[in-house]
């Protein structure tokens, strides 16, 4: 199934994702602030934070082993590599195959795995707690996500995001069947969990009771923390990109620069929509207790299952 999408474009897309990642966070924060009638920081704030952090020195926990130092590197690398699998400006499979949706999920899981390991390394209670909670939620999210992917993939017979996006591109939203809507609903339920936002996680707090992902970053500092943050920004946009590729049609793929730019704009648009959605959810819901999260994900599970059922039966 090798397509005609040149490898260069793939790399460009990857870079675009990495660069746009913090912006999305900034936008979401801005919208939240607005909804809370605050001025809020500028949407470029995440970039400033990153640069500041990269300039700082590091404080390393005395109990941390040699792994700790390299954790941010690995996490960042794997997350960015995941970025290379998301079609951004142009759909269709790349000229030389790289990976599919399963690979994408796998890479994200790897990043999570390493983050959790790093959290345990410092030997503090918070790190362990964060890791424990993160690894409790993740296994529950993954199967549902897998089913959502499958319910789309079944229509096409492939799990390769490029092909999926292509199919979507040809079929306009009017051509959707019930299964697609249900799948989208499930995806929307999952997005906050996967991007670590309310109602599953709360990125803005460092309260012991509420933090999952942040808890794992506590011991990182300076450039290390910077890398981790960049990774989580990238992770967020990659997840949104996945949702987009699965459900939103990429505009008509024109050849040449115009087509690519067009694709870029449509992509940005879709991401923006999803970002707004996230912001709305975050500011209109409260964070759930940890042991209510399974019920919440259960909704997603049921939706995904129904969409699969409709797809197959």
């Amino acid at each position: 199934m090798t397509g005609d999408k040149p490898l260069g474009i793939v790399l460009i897309e990857m870079c675009i994702l990495v660069i746009l990642g913090p912006l999305v966070t900034g936008i979401i924060q801005k919208i939240k602030a607005r909804l809370q009638n605050r001025q809020g920081a500028g949407i470029l704030q995440p970039y400033f934070d990153l640069i500041k952090l990269l300039g700082k020195g590091t404080v390393q926990a005395d109990t941390a082993s040699g792994f700790f130092r390299s954790i941010p590197v690995l996490v960042l690398a794997t997350t960015v590599a995941a970025g290379a699998l998301v079609p951004v400006v142009q759909s269709g499979p790349p000229a030389f195959p790289l990976g599919d949706a399963l690979m994408l999920l796998g890479l994200l899981a790897l990043a999570r795995f390493l983050t959790a390991v790093g959290a345990l390394d410092a030997g503090g209670a918070f790190g362990g707690m964060g890791a424990s909670r993160e690894m409790t939620i993740a296994p529950l999210v993954e199967p549902v996500l897998m089913m959502v992917v499958f319910s789309t993939a079944l229509a096409v017979g492939s799990t390769e995001l490029g092909i999926l996006a292509e199919q979507r591109g040809t079929s306009w939203i009017l051509a959707w069947r019930a299964a697609d809507f249900l799948g989208l609903a499930a995806m929307l339920v999952l997005l906050p969990a996967e991007t670590g936002r309310i109602p599953v996680d709360n990125p803005d707090t460092h309260l012991e009771l509420t933090m999952l992902h942040e808890g794992m970053l506590l011991e990182h500092s300076g450039p290390g923390l910077g890398c981790m943050l960049l990774a989580s920004h990238t992770r967020q946009i990659v997840t949104l990109g996945l949702a987009a590729a699965l459900f939103f049609p990429i505009g008509p793929v024109g050849a040449g620069v115009t087509g690519l730019l067009l694709g870029l704009c449509t992509f940005a648009l879709k991401i923006l929509v999803l970002a707004v959605y996230l912001a709305l959810i975050e500011s209109s819901y409260a964070k759930l207790r940890l042991f209510q999260v399974p019920q919440y994900l259960g909704i997603g599970f049921v939706l995904a299952l129904m969409s699969l059922a409709l797809r197959i039966l």
């Binding site: 529950l140 017979g157 910077g226």
Partner: protein, 686 residues
């Protein structure tokens, strides 16, 4: 090859005058045997897929003609065995010396002898060309592994574990025996060829009955839920390199048996297998995968945890096998799904052998340096034994099915096969298949959680006890053993395409259709691809592990530059932030605590038991001491086995108590027997 094992067995006798020597020679002989096996199997697998190696054995028993036949399937499992055997034999001597230096010559001799017999039996079992050899090796394998389990140390725990192991596998073997003998009696001979001939004449029900009998037998050995209860006891009890063999290889031998029976001996000539077979295997596999990992999550004994993961992985393999059984000869012409599923199963077989072997060896290194298996007493080992820690982490990533390592590849193939199967079967059956995919994903996630716990609690943080503090790095030979398997994990992960040619012979041999490499690596060895026939024409998925690995490799230096920071800044080392208190090992998150949330979420399955004992100082508000104990029960164990066990023992106890010693009763019985049999049989033929 078997000669080498035989020599190894002999060399165990050396133990009477030099323990060390016998250890070395015994393991060297085994190593040579493994090498020989490797070469033989590679010779078969890389040659054209049709050729077989067969040599008749001298007839030990007048009633059976025994022979060895190595076809593709045998060769493939021979390969798996040899791979792990090499690592184990390299690892073994140093481990035994370090773990139990006090052991006398008798114990050493037993261990060396049993190890060689164990390997030899497994090898010959896979190469068996007739039922008798198969059964003899099967039992020999059980017996020698039992010897290894009980020989590890003399406390009663191992003996009990071994007992349970023997009883369950023996019960399984009985089923297997019936199934085999029913075939041989039909065939009038023991060799597989004539059994095949005889099986052609079977009617559907008999065929299925025989298959399920055999399936029970093999499933017991493979530790499939709910027949798994012996496994998490026996495997940890064995010496670690033997645990690696048992988990990594012995279970696979059972898989070999299932494949041999399902696709070869009992398979109908031209029509597909009865649907019940495949579905049963698929369901068994799914439940084993999920339950195995769920129980593994709650274990705090490192080796026990690994043993439960073997249950999980066997489940994953069986999912592939089941799919292959369902799909075989049911898809329209040119269909490649069955091959895909089988490839996934076989590939996962070797993958699991590699990383589970690696993990058990790693656990062994920890064990022989700390003499502690309970994770709660470990911690902070990463700084004392960095190499072991690194290799263990590699294995953990691999077993959690994370790219770019080998675990991911086989699970990816399984997922693709499931996708194909789901698009092939519409209706509830398709849904069931997809559901198994969801369960597989759940399994993967839970496995990742479990190994974050296992690795983090064991190797990271602060040492919790003095055992862990004074650990030192494992000796070189042990690291070598692990390194070999780790290299395999990486190779099979980064360039799986090259391994596919090895899978051609078994897949073609079993399914009589396209080979694995023709389907999976259609676009060259660097690319894994699948082709599914969908309503919208042929479509498929292609990934390239190699490219991805290169990409990550390229990204690492960039990320590293970022990590270094924009300008050179001071680096300080400070104690972990614990709200201002002075951190001690008690601050570290324990394994129990780590797994607690999942325990609560899956409480329905775990049936957790917790009791808290409070010692209050007079008033209930001042608590002096608190003691918490909690554990989870194995449903199968409590609900099935305990009842059977108690039932039988109670009955026999009652019978025995009511028996009398009065001679009059004795005479009465004789008289009664005579009277009754005269009444029953004596009456003339009127």
């Amino acid at each position: 090859m078997s000669v080498c094992f035989f020599l190894g067995a002999l060399s165990s006798l050396l133990a009477w005058w030099s323990v060390r020597l016998s250890l070395i020679t015994g393991h060297l002989a085994a190593l040579a045997g493994a090498m020989a096996g490797l070469s033989v199997s590679l010779g078969i697998l890389l040659g054209n897929s049709a050729n077989k190696l067969s040599l008749p054995l001298p007839s030990f028993f007048p009633f059976a003609r025994q022979s060895l036949v190595v076809d593709g399937l045998s060769a493939y499992f021979l390969l798996v065995i040899s791979i792990v055997a090499i690592a184990a034999t390299v690892y073994g001597p140093a481990y035994l010396q370090a773990h139990s230096p006090e052991a006398g010559p008798a114990r050493r001799a037993t261990q060396v002898l049993a190890l060689n017999v164990f390997l030899a039996c497994m090898v010959l079992l896979c190469c068996a060309g007739d039922a008798l050899t198969f059964i003899l090796c099967w039992e020999g394998m059980t017996l020698s592994s039992y010897a290894l389990v009980v020989s590890d140390d003399q406390d009663g725990e191992n003996a009990r574990a071994g007992l349970l192991y023997m009883i369950m596998t023996h019960a399984g073997t009985a089923m297997l025996l019936v199934s085999f003998l029913a075939l041989t009696e039909r065939a009038g001979a023991f060799d597989f060829a004539s059994i095949r001939m005889a099986a052609n004449g079977l009617d559907g029900t008999t065929r299925s009955v025989l298959f399920f009998l055999a399936l029970v037998g093999f499933a017991t050995k493979a530790g499939v839920v709910p027949l798994h209860v012996w496994l998490p006891r026996a495997h940890p009890a064995a010496p670690s390199h033997v645990s690696a063999l048992m988990s990594g290889v012995m279970l696979k031998v059972a898989i070999y048996g299932i494949l041999r029976f399902g696709f070869d001996l009992l398979a109908p000539v031209a029509e597909p297998l009865p649907p019940a077979w495949g579905w049963t295997v698929l369901i068994l596999g799914t439940s084993s995968a999920v339950l195995g990992v769920l129980y593994a999550l709650q274990q705090h004994d490192l080796k026990r945890l690994l043993a439960f993961h073997s249950v999980e992985n066997i489940g994953i393999i069986l999912i592939g096998v089941g799919l292959a059984m369902i799909l075989w000869r049911r898809e329209d012409a040119g269909g490649s799904l069955a091959t895909l599923a089988l490839t996934a199963a076989l590939l996962h077989t070797v993958n699991h052998a590699a990383f589970k072997g690696l993990l058990f060896l790693g656990a062994g290194s920890v064990l022989c340096r700390t003499h502690v298996r309970n994770m709660e007493e470990l911690g902070g080992l990463a700084r004392h034994m960095p190499w072991t820690a690194g290799l263990f982490l590699l294995g953990a990533v691999a077993i959690s099915a994370l790219p770019p390592l080998n675990g991911f590849v086989s699970e990816w193939l399984t997922f693709q096969a499931i996708l194909g199967g789901a698009s092939r079967f519409h209706g509830p059956s398709g849904l069931a298949i997809v559901f198994s995919a969801a369960m597989l994903a759940l399994t993967g996630g839970l496995a990742a959680a479990c190994f974050v716990k296992a690795f983090g609690v064991t190797f990271l943080g602060r040492p919790r006890t003095s055992h862990a503090e004074h650990a030192i790095e494992a000796p070189l030979s042990m690291l070598l053993g692990m390194g070999w398997l780790a290299a395999l994990c990486v190779f099979l992960g980064v360039a799986p395409g090259f391994a596919m040619t090895l899978l051609d012979a078994p897949t073609i041999g079993l399914l009589h259709s396209l080979g694995a490499s023709a389907i999976v690596t259609a676009h060259g060895p660097l690319v894994l691809s699948t082709a599914l026939a969908t309503p919208g024409g042929i479509s498929g998925t292609t990934i390239s592990m190699t490219m991805l690995a290169i990409l990550i490799a390229a990204l690492l230096p960039l990320a590293w530059m970022l990590r270094r920071g924009l300008r050179t800044a001071p680096q300080r080392v400070a104690p972990t932030w614990t709200c201002g208190m002075v951190p001690t090992a008690r601050f570290d998150y324990t394994a129990t605590a780590f797994a607690k949330p999942l325990r609560r979420i899956f409480a329905a399955i775990y049936r957790p038991r917790r009791e808290v004992i409070r010692e209050t100082a007079g008033t209930p508000y001042v608590i002096r001491r608190m003691q918490y104990t909690g554990d989870v029960v194995d449903l199968a164990e409590t609900q099935i086995y305990h009842r059977i066990h108690y039932g039988i023992t109670a009955i026999s106890q009652a019978i025995r108590d009511h028996s009398t010693g009065r001679i009059h009763v004795y005479i009465g019985f004789v008289l009664g027997a005579l009277f009754l049999s005269l009444l029953l049989f004596g009456g003339g033929q009127r």
